[in-house]
Symmetry: D2
Subunit: 460 residues, 4 copies
């Protein structure tokens, strides 16, 4: 998963891109990059780690211009190192190209194979390079056509921002897997970002989502749409953005994330009630769902786990304090709240289950009499090929164990997952169709590379 941001027609565009990335930091902490275009020249800075660690006033001063792209990278998938971080910048026959990408292209390896056979040179291993080569080799007569031609060859998930010449292009794949929203600055410029919380910090007004399959072009202050990419059979925005990934203050797929999670918590309480003394969240990701559960069930909300917000990269491997160090360094229980109580712990999702296992142990050590775990999403049983960096199916706890077996393994008194139907009913109010392949195995866009036995490329 990654966060992307674009700015067009604003003074100090790099500064705005920085703010946007800063608001999108939760979408990727591995590396950050910003490029600007001025007078046909591209200025680029990439840095490992947090946006704030790599950029300051001095660095931003070296990024002049009114057009900027930014990217914050989630994982080292696709190979570690800045060579695989974004923006990707290259010189081609029409000038300088720069590109940022969030998603995962399901035919990237197949396309790469063809390009390489024709003499294309690659620097790294990310999908994004494939798009740049497709643009450079397109025989379409102008940049508009070259970009459209390139994107139309892709299957899978992509929300992209591209600069070429003096225009900024924004596009989403026909299925609309990953979000991308458009905003407008008071002073007249345009901004694009993965989530609305980035617009807020950039002081931009939300205009609308880029539509699935849409290619938007911004030039000379005007926004136009190019002919759309082919329609998908059904649109499939990722429901995991609502469950876990997006920030609660963002509006995603037309709904406020906090409100949706609250509804998930309420529905969960209806599906899996239990008698208990209190309910609490695993802060901060399940705060909304826990509050919803408490409201619906009438069981009092507590703040029983304290999260240490100074957790970053720990290069410490203590020899003295046991296996559950990774959990304990992040969460500490409030003993007085838990001791002797029957407690309900609400979590947003259960992927590997290792953190939950540590947490349950922590809560038991703090004296809980009963521990009831409630998960505000269905069991994750399938890998994601559209941009979420899920572990190998062998590590997905629900792909290998039944709910009862998971309950035993986590050593909880009861375990309840939100049902797929319950979840979809909650959000279906607005007539939406979603991708829920990680729960259902119902993959929408074709998995070309997978079916051809090619190594599946990296999410970004």
């Amino acid at each position: 998963m990654c966060g992307i941001v674009g700015v067009m027609g604003a003074e100090h565009a790099a500064e705005l891109a920085f703010l946007g990335l800063y608001a999108l930091q939760h979408r990727g902490q591995e590396a950050a990059g910003i490029c600007t275009v001025e007078g046909g020249e591209v200025h680029l800075v990439k840095a490992a780690g947090l946006v704030m660690d790599g950029f300051d006033d001095q660095v931003l001063k070296g990024l002049p211009g009114t057009l900027a792209l930014g990217h914050t990278r989630y994982s080292t998938a696709g190979g570690a190192g800045l060579v695989n971080s974004q923006p990707i910048v290259a010189r081609y026959h029409q000038g300088e190209l720069a590109l940022v990408h969030n998603g995962n292209i399901t035919n990237a390896q197949q396309l790469r194979r063809g390009l390489v056979a024709e003499g294309a040179l690659f620097q790294g291993t990310v999908d994004t390079e494939v798009i740049v080569h497709l643009i450079a080799r397109s025989r379409a007569p102008n940049i508009d056509g070259q970009i459209r031609h390139a994107l139309s060859q892709l299957t899978g998930a992509f929300s992209v921002l591209i600069t070429g010449g003096d225009a900024l292009y924004a596009a989403r794949d026909p299925w609309g897997y990953r979000p991308l929203v458009l905003g407008r600055l008071d002073a007249g410029g345009w901004v694009l970002a993965s989530e609305t919380c980035a617009l807020d910090l950039m002081h931009a007004h939300y205009v609308r989502e880029i539509e699935p399959g849409e290619i938007v072009k911004i030039q000379d202050g005007e926004m136009t749409s190019l002919p759309a990419l082919g329609r998908a059979e059904r649109i499939a925005p990722c429901i995991f953005e609502l469950i876990y990934f997006a920030r609660p203050d963002s509006v995603v797929w037309g709904q406020t994330v906090d409100r949706t999670r609250r509804q998930f918590g309420r529905q969960l309480a209806r599906e899996h009630p239990v008698e208990a003394d209190c309910v609490f969240s695993v802060p901060d990701s399940s705060n909304s769902a826990a509050l919803g559960y408490s409201e619906e069930s009438g069981i009092p909300l507590e703040l029983a786990l304290i999260r240490n917000h100074y957790v970053g990269r720990t290069f410490i491997h203590p020899t003295q304090v046991g296996r559950d160090f990774r959990v304990r360094i992040k969460y500490n229980p409030v003993r007085e709240v838990i001791e002797g109580k029957r407690v309900i712990v609400v979590d947003d999702s259960l992927v590997r289950g290792t953190t939950s296992q540590g947490l349950v142990q922590l809560i038991r050590d703090a004296g809980a009499r009963e521990v009831h775990l409630r998960v505000a999403s269905p069991p994750v049983r399938f890998p994601c090929f559209y941009g979420i960096d899920m572990p190998n199916p062998k590590e997905l706890i629900a792909a290998n164990l039944s709910v009862e077996q998971i309950r035993e393994k986590l050593a909880v008194d009861s375990l309840g997952y939100l049902s797929l139907e319950g979840m979809l009913d909650t959000v279906r109010g607005n007539g939406a169709s979603f991708c829920h392949a990680c729960f259902s195995g119902d993959y929408t866009a074709p998995l070309v590379d997978l079916e051809e036995g090619l190594s599946v490329s990296s999410h970004c």
Copy 2:
């Protein structure tokens, strides 16, 4: 304010000290230091910034031994630079001394004047150096006596840990301003820390508080108490630790911080009720109080402000996004929760009022119909001379304006502070006597330097 930690008689003592500091990171983010003693030799590492940034496995490997002291520093008061960070280490006639200190000594300048006149050389400006010189110059026949002699000359706030020879000493001033707790490791060693949350992460069992005026000595696995320092007229543990400073999962002054703050919130609701649609906190410091307010008033709790936890040191000064950038980079409102509502915002305390002013604006911009601010502590009207780094009285909003004037300045529809009596009643259940000078001006320990017109020394 600072956090301190000591470890005695444990393998990999530096590693435990690291964990302790890590749990105490909220008490100081300016600099961190750890020293160990092995075979009479002191090993010392100090680093600017967070504990995690300065220490890793490699660094800890260079800190051998079973005795360690750690310190995390709050501010640059006393002069920036590592020369004023701790532990302070020095060679004197009995060998190596190392010392960490949390508090503020009210006669430090007077003592320093005397020492300098006798030819003492100082490296930096922190109080802690004074204590080391007093020990070195004491004519008492042994280290026990020298340390007791030195500490008995001090007035004001000090929780200190000192190593000399093969013993570890822990002491608190007779008033007991700052916390210091003792824990025991399963494997047999002892640990000391500012708060119990550090014991938790070090996997140590809470034993008891070090008492006001007590000097404890740990040697050869045994803990003994030296003759106590003179008794104070009344003990005066800092109530601000409960209000804001300590972590909610810590037990401070015999009570769980989260529970106490919940009671403050409930009492606040009784003292300052108002009709509204929802109540919410300024995360995370007022989470407990807001929940208490909601419970007592029956007004639903909401999660209306989202905090960006990647906020660290920003070296960015945006030119494009307005004055309230510092607030907005940290908090973002959930518009759908706030829009058109009458909201109650609960904050833990109001010092300068600048952050609150920004927040109120943010909440109004998100469409709140009415904004009612409730503060879960009394108006801060006086400076602290016992270790809390309060701003100059000129900057204390309540030292200069009446409650009504503050309400106007913050542009809220109503403003209510918890009363001093209400607050004290809430905690008085356990017969405690507290320092509440920042609210009442009722200073307990004599303010020697202040009265002599000497510059008041730094808090640490």
Copy 3:
């Protein structure tokens, strides 16, 4: 100018490449890079600054394999930044390519224009990228053919080392502008380097030069020659390597550099005798020539200028010590040797003349009665297009002033340059033909880009 090195079939190849680069450090101090190939995978490290600053045991450990290429870069021409430093590594249809290059390709821009028109993407601006693209696009059936095809399209100066598959290729342009020598390790591997001083430090035996137009291939321990590139009208090894660039302990163009410079000094004494008390060099570059002048003239040699060898990048711009700071920080005169004397200063060459001007002033300030400047090469009047990073003709002192005018400008009592004929006679003993275009304007290889009005590309 740059230095290149290759290692094939040796344990710890990266370590040997490091030593080779270290010996070639005088050919470039801007950046250094080493890559190794193991099991078809390329490992690459580049670092700004000196070889020694960027590489240590730890870094070399991350460069496994028995095949290594190394490069040390002279200037920021071609654009600053590591993107333009070497080795250049890319993925193409046959696997991984890596390439290092010393020289300057005179039709690089023309070739680049063609490649870009076909959809090639470029990362940086150095010539070397062009070669990689030509290889990737060649339709020759195997790597041997692709490399030969690519190189045959180039005009100008190139000594290159290329790895593709499990073979190492070494080639020189048909004119043979830049040196490249082959050596053999006792243990059986092969090494290639710009100068023999690198072979010495790698403990390799000198075998022979790679011939002008030759392409050598090393694979499975065997060395073979591919069909040569087309013959040049006449070979043209760079005489400036003998005058200034190469290290005196190297054997270049079949002769020891120190011996050649000694002969230049002797010839200079014959052409421009003068009565004086002593002769001295500008250390260390003219040591050999000054000694030759002294021997031939019988005038005693002195060590009158002391060079500070700690000079590196100075980021100091003193406000107090005058314009000639840059010279004085590097050289200091021995006053007692100079005071009251008639002195002959021998320099190896005169390019801009600014350093000489500062030096003459320094020598006069030290009390010299007469200053006679002797230059052991002819006046530099023309730019180099074959790899030496000469300044713009406007800055070449001899392109703009007569010898007498230069004498006046430098304020010396007499000035003598070695004649072109004298210089060539000295080295012609071994039947050699040289490039002396910077003195004579007699350019051998066609200057394609220059004639087409394209920006001339960078030397490396």
Copy 4:
């Protein structure tokens, strides 16, 4: 060994101190420090490594004022780390003290023992801290008296610069072991430095040496002398400064170093003639002596060893290139000069003999028929207690082997050392008396710590 510099009454004093240290870099590469005093406040920066690496325009801007001290540190003796580097700065009853020191105090441990017994606290282990404590504890009525009182308690070698209040003090021990010269700036300020080459780069005129036992005070633009320290039985300036340590362009003990070394070389030729084809130096330290030997003997001078001036700290330990790597990375022979010849190698001194052993091997490998080693100083048989960082006597080759045994060990055809008498005759022209204890064992100042069995302190 160390280099020191002081500046008084000059704009941008830190900048001048930087230049002075830069010229004295050969006296210490371990660490550098500069402090300035302005308005009674001291500004201090220390950095590991070369002066140029630690200081730039930005750093110097943070060192305001017209009074500066600088220090460049030779070795890690006295314990690694910046705590033992200089200037030493401390606060005492009269204000701020700052001090730089070159030398070695032979009763430092004894004095330290006394100070510690009285309650003095030490930070590090260098002698310099002792001086600061002695000043702080002196009961003399003013700074002049305190400094004189402190210095009069010391035995051994010290050239010191001290700032206290608004004055700068410079002093040398009564024996005058280490150099210290005074210079004057055109603009009116004063400078002090270890060697005259520093005055040259600071654009200062040489005025005179500070005399043995003299204490000079500079204040308000005036220089005065305080009453001298007690007279030594005989003065004993270090002759090793002339042999090896000082730069050839410096005037030390009243004579130009280059000229003196030339005389050593001539005398060596007279004492140890041998038939040979050429003579050459080990660059750069024996250049002057080799030239002298050539002149006197009539045997032609050659440049047979090329030194790589990029040698710095190598963190490389090659596994493939043999034991003599350390020598070969620094020197490379010119084979054509050496092959088949009878050569004379002139070195300045022989301490451990390990480098010479490597060099001789290198020369033999290059094909020399005979190798004759000539050393331009007597055999080093005794440790230095006055500031030169000699190895342990067990490692001094001449303390353990006869000249014939050394010849055998180094595998040279003949070996000749300059005689002590010959050396002293050469310099005695100016009536000087020298310390030559490292050759003769004739120690002048009492070795108090050594005789009391205390650990001998570090040289600086």
